[in-house]
């Protein structure tokens, strides 16, 4: 087969395996985050642990999954039928609720694993000081159980001690066990499909195609980078605060473009902080990866090759390369979005006419936990809420849409009210929140939830002080608000807070709008 043909055939084959792993996981999982919101990713890796293909799942997992695989390879001598589990952000993970399962794929007659498959899913509770495991914390020890790479399955049999240890440390063990079973089955699907490919095409052909596809993604990414102006482009944005009175916390980037190579340097970024908005380097790399993936116009395989033209420098111990025992729960969901805002802000100078204004820039994480008065059972609800998309050079931003590092589905109101003691009072577009401009930024969302029992509410949100920026003369989007209606009084909550509320309290999330593009009144032609 011609290489040019083989590339396309195998791109389709590998991608469909990753997608099928995702279907298997999502349809059998128990955490609402996985089954309703699709907060998971599945990917396949070559013998060196480099990503070959990833399903169209969560962008924030893009650059970080291979670090889990690398950590598993480094720490554990994996044999056929083994599955390694890991969630430790400092050993290949991102934040504790994201649990990754890595499985080697052995081809008969070979001693070394020919490939790896892995999937990562956001579990709805992994212990720690608050239900839902997205707490307002100051160290990783408060955030939940930390699992270094270790065997969850050995020779096809679940390691009971490991499973029991994990389940003993979480609030909803039955659900956890179900999710892990779904994750194991998903990896098995990937293994089975890869072995079928080896049967059909032979190991050398499949392995060669994996290498070719990475080279190919690299060539396409370099081609896109050539479309950028050469030079040094700097940008600065900031996180409002860390929930413990520290802020604003600047994120600085300098991007140097030289023909088809790029250096992305975060020198000057704030040091790591007390609250949980610290990001480990895996997240920072994922965010940069995403920014360069979106400027490639052609459908390309999402793999290791995209990273090769990029050199990413992150100051050790900074907000973007936090070291233990930093709290990191919100780095994955909040800081990741600001890294994208910052990097795209710099890229806009090198690629005018392509990069949009800032999107909402926060996932508006809301966790509510307590006892369900209907049946006396413990519950933990966690969900993110979309905001407005930044306006594009040629079009308005979309209203009420998840952007950049996330694309999860919302939990339907009717499903929510079945599962939790909540009544949704209002769910609509937050009109007028998008920035004005030649093209308008998308509007955010307003969602009011009445809680029908006493509960603990935790909010992790940003862009409460600062606004999503406009570009080319477009106006900023409106910052977000969280309003608590308690005993008939309205009060604004801080962006990051955790508090007990009484039955009947209403939490009203009002998410930021996107920035506008171009000065209003300019001719849009």
């Amino acid at each position: 087969m011609l290489e040019q043909v083989q590339l396309e055939v195998f791109r389709n084959l590998f991608h469909s395996i990753a997608e099928e792993m995702g279907v298997a996981l999502c349809r059998t999982a128990f955490s609402p985050n996985i089954k309703e919101r699709r907060d998971y990713s599945c990917a396949i890796f070559d013998a060196d642990g480099h990503t070959v293909a990833q399903g169209d799942h969560m962008p924030v997992h893009l650059g970080s999954m291979p670090m889990s695989v690398a950590a598993a390879i480094e720490a554990i001598d994996m044999a056929a039928g083994d599955v390694v589990i890991v969630n430790d952000p400092f050993q290949g993970g991102t934040h504790l609720p994201d649990i990754t399962l890595v499985q080697p794929v052995f081809v008969e007659g070979h001693h070394r694993a020919a490939f790896y498959v892995a999937n990562r899913a956001h579990h709805s509770d992994v212990g720690g000081i608050s239900p839902g495991s997205m707490p307002l914390a100051t160290s990783i020890y408060q955030e939940g159980i930390r699992i270094p790479p270790m065997h969850l399955v050995r020779s096809g049999v679940v390691v009971e001690e490991a499973m029991k240890l994990i389940l003993a440390n979480v609030r909803t063990p039955v659900e956890r066990e179900g999710d892990l079973t779904a994750q194991i089955a998903s990896n098995r699907t990937g293994e089975r499909r890869l072995l079928e490919l080896v049967d059909r095409y032979s190991l050398p052909t499949v392995a060669e195609a994996m290498g070719q596809l990475q080279d190919y993604a690299e060539r396409l990414t370099r081609e896109a980078i050539r479309g950028m102006a050469n030079g040094r482009f700097v940008f600065e944005d900031a996180m409002d605060d860390d929930g413990f009175g520290n802020g604003p916390l600047p994120i600085r980037v300098a991007i140097e473009v030289e023909d088809e190579n790029v250096t992305v340097d975060f020198a000057g970024t704030a040091p790591q902080t007390a609250g949980s908005i610290n990001a480990v380097s895996a997240i920072t790399v994922s965010a940069v990866f995403y920014c360069f993936r979106v400027i490639v116009d052609w459908p390309i395989p999402t793999n290791h090759g995209t990273l090769r033209p990029l050199s990413v420098k992150i100051p050790a111990g900074s907000l973007l390369d936090a070291r233990p025992p930093a709290a990191v729960a919100a780095g994955n969901v909040e800081t990741s979005q600001r890294i994208v805002d910052t990097v795209l802000g710099a890229m806009a100078q090198a690629l005018p006419g392509v990069i949009p204004a800032a999107s909402s820039g926060t996932m508006n994480n809301l966790t509510i936990g307590g006892v369900d008065p209907r049946d006396g059972r413990q519950y933990a609800y966690y969900e993110t809420t979309a905001g407005g998309m930044g306006a594009r050079p040629g079009a308005s931003g979309l209203d009420a849409t998840h952007t950049h590092m996330t694309n999860s589905l919302n939990t339907p109101v009717e499903a929510l009210e079945h599962s939790y003691p909540f009544r949704v009072r209002r769910y609509g577009v937050r009109r007028g929140s998008g920035g004005l401009g030649r093209h308008r930024g998308g509007d955010g969302i307003r969602r009011d939830i009445e809680i029908l029992g006493d509960a603990r509410v935790t909010v992790l949100a940003d862009r409460r002080e600062s606004s999503p920026y406009g570009l080319a003369g477009g106006q900023h989007g409106a910052p977000g608000r969280t309003v608590l209606v308690d005993d008939g009084h309205d009060r604004d909550l801080p962006g990051k807070c955790s508090l007990d509320v009484k039955r009947g309290a209403v939490v009203s999330l009002r998410t930021p709008g996107g920035g506008g593009f171009g000065a209003a009144g300019e001719d849009s032609s």
């Binding site: 389709n12 052609w298 009717e414």
Partner: protein, 656 residues
């Protein structure tokens, strides 16, 4: 000979196909030109040409589909629970492509200015939390009527659990003079408000257009008309006027029903249908019966009615080959369409398509295309193939073969989705191929999936109209009812099932009515369900299906029911054609010509047969090409072909 009166008419883009049956069971087919500005003209002229006096018409209509695709539906309003007027605008908060900065969402069918909020609230158990004020209903209804909307969709929270508020609002609208009202509790009484609202709105949006069309048709033909729907069954004209949404995805349904009937008659119950056209390819799986799904959408708009589980990929004969800047060869999704069409059509197309590659490789016979009525420009195909070969840097033959291989890999992926991913092994299935371009690819596709056999029905171009003739009358009813199976109050479920069945008896008035109960089950806490027959062992069946589909079952987990379903069926009562007779000594088939065709790395001399000359019993050895009016079938070197007693062309691997 006299006809039975039964006639199937399928509206297509270019032709309207007419199929009817004579009293001896044999089938007659013909085509009339379609009349897109008023599709009923072609239907009436088809009826007239058939000479049938009191026709019993089964009709496949694209009126609702086109109204949605072209955004030419009714001016429609939406009534929701107050505070939830933006349901359609928000959707599920997601975007369609995570790496596309220019991604767009489909505009809602109802603009924000036409969304009205009603102060009322029902809880998840159907309990009334905020009672409805009838004065407010009247006020909103009057306003909507005054503003002159053609139709109204109503979707209130938890209406599947308690429809009283929706029904009251609907009554108010009707008495205010709004003629077309769709309440979500009637269209789709299932939970998940966005999908229910979207489906109901589609019904209200396309409904008035379809209603007018069918009213005219009824006036001309009488009420003995049935309409093909997305689930593969037919609908009475009266119901179709109220539930146009059931027909929106009906386009490919006739072909699947027809293919399934023909293959069953020929002895193959388990089939994968493969319908490859110019722009896209539809595949579906029948394991005894056609598979169905409730999770469909059109152009990004969810439509949650039951439909045949048909998977579509953007790869067809007209898919254009192109080179990306890194030297990769790509095929599609852009299609040359009918105009300019592939380069070989000689209509000014310059880009190499899959059809051009087939022609270049000698697999498509230029002398027999559309019965020889259309000249194929081999020179133009050659020029186009050579140009793309130079761009990607390969020999023209290799690149042409590569284009076919890539198209095959896309279609193989589609078949894997509906078979392997759903727990079926393709080795147990026969590939049934129809549509213009399928026969060129079917055997290679079957080989790569280890499918043992390909069946090409006679006259594959009219299979869809034929399927309509065979379609049973089918109505699907559903109701969300969430409960644990181990503590199920069967009195509750029985009375809900009986309610659904009562509805069925009213709507489908026939002595031959068959009712079938199923339920959607899941492990408590999961978000997706599997549909299983409702009986004492439903839970067992669920565990088994879960294991087949997803690789494991967990019998220690609680199973819950989510949605109850009743399917009402009245069999069409039409027999498939009688088998023909295979002569004692079959005359060996004579090729019309010998051509040179590329298989793998070799050019092989290949006989070309005209399908019309092949009698039942004829046997062919690969390599061979069978040409007929609307399609061409390639038999590769390691395959044999035969013509069975139904005139199907059956290809089987000869190494088995």
């Amino acid at each position: 000979m006299k006809s039975t009166g039964l006639i199937g008419i399928d509206t297509g883009g270019t032709f309207t196909d007419v199929v009817y049956q004579l009293v001896d069971g044999s089938i007659r087919v013909f085509k009339v030109p379609s009349t897109p500005s008023d599709p009923s003209q072609a239907v009436l002229s088809g009826l007239e040409s058939s000479g049938i006096e009191e026709p019993e018409l089964v009709h496949g209509s694209t009126v609702a589909t086109n109204a949605l695709l072209e955004r030419a539906g009714a001016r429609c309003a939406l009534v929701t629970t107050a505070g939830f007027e933006d349901l359609l605008l928000i959707g599920r908060q997601t975007r369609g492509d995570i790496y596309d900065l220019d991604v767009e969402k489909p505009d809602p069918l109802v603009p924000s200015s036409a969304c009205f909020g009603l102060n009322e609230r029902i809880g998840p158990q159907g309990e009334v939390i905020v009672a409805l004020e009838s004065s407010e209903c009247t006020e909103i209804a009057t306003r909507i009527a005054r503003e002159g909307y053609d139709s109204v969709a109503i979707c209130l929270l938890h209406s599947y659990a308690n429809p009283s508020h929706e029904l009251a609002m609907a009554a108010a609208l009707r008495s205010a003079g709004v003629s077309y009202v769709s309440a979500s509790c009637e269209v789709l009484p299932e939970f998940r408000e966005f999908e229910r609202c979207s489906t109901t709105t589609v019904n209200a949006y396309v409904g008035p257009v379809m209603d007018r069309y069918l009213e005219n048709l009824e006036r001309a033909v009488g009420s003995g008309v049935r309409i093909m729907q997305s689930n593969g069954g037919a609908l009475s004209l009266k119901v179709a006027r109220e539930r146009a949404v059931e027909t929106v995805l009906s386009g490919p349904a006739g072909g699947v029903v027809g293919a399934h009937a023909l293959a069953s008659a020929a002895g193959f119950d388990d089939i994968v249908t493969f319908d490859m056209g110019g722009t896209s390819t539809d595949v579906s799986l029948c394991s005894g019966v056609p598979s169905r799904t409730g999770e469909s959408s059109l152009e990004g708009i969810p439509i949650r009615v039951t439909m045949l589980d048909i998977h579509t990929v953007g790869a067809g004969g007209g898919s254009v080959a192109w080179a990306d800047p890194a030297g990769g060869l790509r095929v599609g999704p852009r299609s040359a369409g009918a105009n300019p069409g592939p380069a070989c059509y000689g209509q000014g197309g310059r880009s190499a398509t899959v059809t051009d590659a087939n022609l270049y490789l000698g697999r498509l016979s230029p002398d027999h295309f559309l019965g020889g009525t259309r000249d194929l420009d081999c020179g133009a195909a050659r020029t186009a193939i050579e140009a793309i070969a130079q761009e990607v840097g390969g020999g023209p033959s290799e690149v042409a073969a590569g284009i076919v291989t890539i198209a095959n890999s896309r279609m193989e992926g589609a078949i894997r989705v509906i078979s392997v991913e759903r727990g079926h092994d393709p080795r147990d299935f026969t590939l049934v191929c129809f549509g213009g371009a399928g026969g060129l690819h079917a055997a290679e596709l079957a080989a790569s999936l280890h499918m043992p056999r390909v069946l090409v029905p006679p006259d594959p171009g009219t299979l869809s109209a034929y399927g309509m003739l065979l379609a049973d009358i089918v109505r699907d009813y559903s109701r969300t009812h969430i409960a644990f199976m181990h503590e199920l109050n069967t009195a509750d479920t029985d009375s809900l099932f009986e309610e659904l069945e009562g509805q069925a008896r009213v709507e489908v008035d026939s002595r031959a009515l068959r009712l079938e109960r199923t339920a959607d089950l899941r492990y408590h806490g999961q978000g997706f369900e599997l549909s299983v027959p409702w009986h004492e062992d439903s839970v067992d069946t669920f565990h088994r299906m879960h294991s087949d589909r997803y690789g494991y079952a967990d019998r220690s987990r609680d199973v819950e029911v989510v949605t109850l379903r009743v399917r009402a069926t009245v069999p069409a009562g039409v027999e498939v054609p009688l088998p023909g007779v295979i002569a004692e000594d079959v005359v060996a088939a004579t090729p019309a010509s010998i051509t040179s065709t590329r298989f793998g790395d070799e050019d092989l001399p290949t006989p070309v047969y005209e399908r019309t000359t092949l009698q039942p019993g004829a046997r062919l050895a690969g390599p061979a090409v069978v040409a007929e009016y609307s399609s061409t079938t390639v038999i590769p070197p390691d395959w044999d072909g035969r013509v069975d007693e139904f005139c199907n062309l059956v290809l089987e691997r000869n190494d088995a």
